[in-house]
Point group: C2
Chain length 318, copies 2
């Protein structure tokens, strides 16, 4: 079976796009400004899951020829009791030759991690998922037993409080007993926790490198922290970045360039609400029924924005 | 509304038990040694979710008078496509005056964390959940907006590879620019990452202390690391520990004593498969149909084991 990283690169090149469309369902029943328009809920006789399916099926079909990969945020499907819709949307994505990440940030000990991997890859049919590496190898390796699948490990997240723990300076001192909780700082390098996590990503990913020299183990690095992104890129050159934080959170195309290697590869850039609900947010006037064409215009603009920034740095791969 | 921590203490004292029964459904269809006996699957006409419900409903009803709290591992319900059973089992637990933790180890940025909290507390009706704090306050605080509910933040997990990241020595250096990824170690205290996380737990929990002086923010600390547990107890005296790793993973009652304060409170101890599947594991002979009485015998033994260890340390609260 072809590796996830190789398939992802095929799709990026074929579609000339780094864009990952985030699928974040949001419905406010009874509100005129509901992100997923309420007429869709009415047309599905109050079935919110069905309204979510219709809305995103239409967007997927409208943009799939210019989007290599989609990311479904499972929290919102859980909130609206619409988990079965995840699998139906992933089937739509696959029919249109796209890839699907389930953003679940799962983490647990080995047998439980295996249960999560089975649920996400085999039952919900995702091609990749996000994982939190705080528990170490026991948590991450069960996901790598699934052929053709990929994971993205949280390294430096895009949210404001990510510094509280991820930016602490740390040091591995393997000669010390683990029973010692506190010591005076010895001589040596102190490295921020997010770079320690990146180092683990490099170790976990080294055994699953594809033909195109990228690993099936990627990392999540927020566009909101471009300098930190540059550091992580140096620590793990062969690992893809899933980059959140573009657009609404403040990350720009120029920031993302730091995550891209000289070969023009190594990054996919997520935008969720800026695309899903472009019909509400765009300067152009759209009616609620034009959500799919509005989404396509937003993807076109994002693709062009990122391509321009990469061309300016001689990093565009096509 | 009464705080989660106060209700938990009421239940511990009333039932004279620190035991948290872990609900980890496992079915091997067609196997004579399936943990949930296959006759239950046949009796529910192949509906695995229904077999899971029957099995654990019977156990809950058998043990609820001697168990203050239950922990449902959501990964296994996802694996068997049986999420609706989570809510049904929690209703059974509440009818028998027990509390329910959903072990989900959720973590995400703020609006997404809020969606998870809504799903877990309002839709699935859990009283508490487990959370991974790698993303910082943005991730944890949305869970604390739900009155009467609690969280347990992963601090030092029970699995062998937990050291890879959690045992790194780290230091907060707030005067340094976050753009600096690596420095020479300055003078000062280096503290293991799990103690840094414990410190954050103390901060997050300080605003939700109950009448009994315990916080609604607890932490997960594995029984397999008793010395580390002692360190964490010193850092955060007012926060409950949810202690996995007792029994099968090697943790003993003597290890758990380190997590209990002088007032005899501050810990609940989880056992999953040793109770759920006691009919298979016990030295006494049980038939598959005796799973509930076997589970009760296992809880009785565990309650007595922990009570004896606490009495020996003058920490028994009754």
């Amino acid at each position: 079976m072809r590796r996830f990283s190789d398939t992802l690169i095929d799709h990026i090149i074929a579609k000339k796009s780094f864009t990952c469309v985030g699928i974040d369902p949001e419905v406010q029943v009874g509100s005129n400004t509901s992100p997923i328009p309420t007429y869709l809920v009415e047309e599905s006789r109050g079935d919110i899951g069905e309204a979510i399916f219709t809305f995103f099926k239409d967007i997927i079909n409208e943009v799939a020829d210019i989007v290599p990969i989609f990311k479904l945020q499972i929290a919102f499907f859980e909130k609206f009791d619409a988990l079965p819709v995840v699998k139906r949307l992933i089937k739509e994505i696959h029919q249109r030759k796209g890839l699907a990440i389930i953003d679940a940030k799962r983490n647990d000990i080995s047998s439980t991690s295996e249960a999560y991997a089975t649920a996400i890859f085999e039952r919900l049919l995702a091609d990749a998922t996000t994982v939190n590496g705080y528990l170490g190898s026991d948590c991450v390796l069960p996901f790598l037993k699934h052929e053709g699948k990929g994971v993205f490990v949280l390294v430096k997240t895009s949210n404001p409080s990510s510094a509280e723990f991820q930016d602490l300076f740390s040091m591995a001192l393997p000669s010390l007993s683990p029973e010692i909780g506190e010591i005076e700082a010895p001589r040596g390098k102190l490295v921020r926790n997010y770079l320690q996590m990146a180092n683990l990503v490099g170790i976990w990913g080294a055994k699953c490198i594809g033909e195109r020299k990228y690993s099936d183990v990627g990392s999540v690095v927020g566009a909101t922290f471009p300098t930190q992104m540059k550091q992580v890129r140096q620590v793990i050159p062969q690992n893809f970045f899933l980059i959140p934080g573009y657009g609404a959170q403040g990350g720009t195309a120029a920031d993302i360039v730091h995550g891209v290697n000289r070969d023009g590869l190594g990054a996919i850039v997520n935008s969720s609400r800026g695309i899903d609900y472009a019909y509400q947010k765009s300067a152009r006037k759209y009616t609620p029924r034009q959500y799919a064409v509005a989404a396509r215009a937003a993807v076109d603009a994002m693709n062009a924005d990122i391509e321009n920034a990469l061309r300016a740095s001689n990093k565009c791969p096509w």
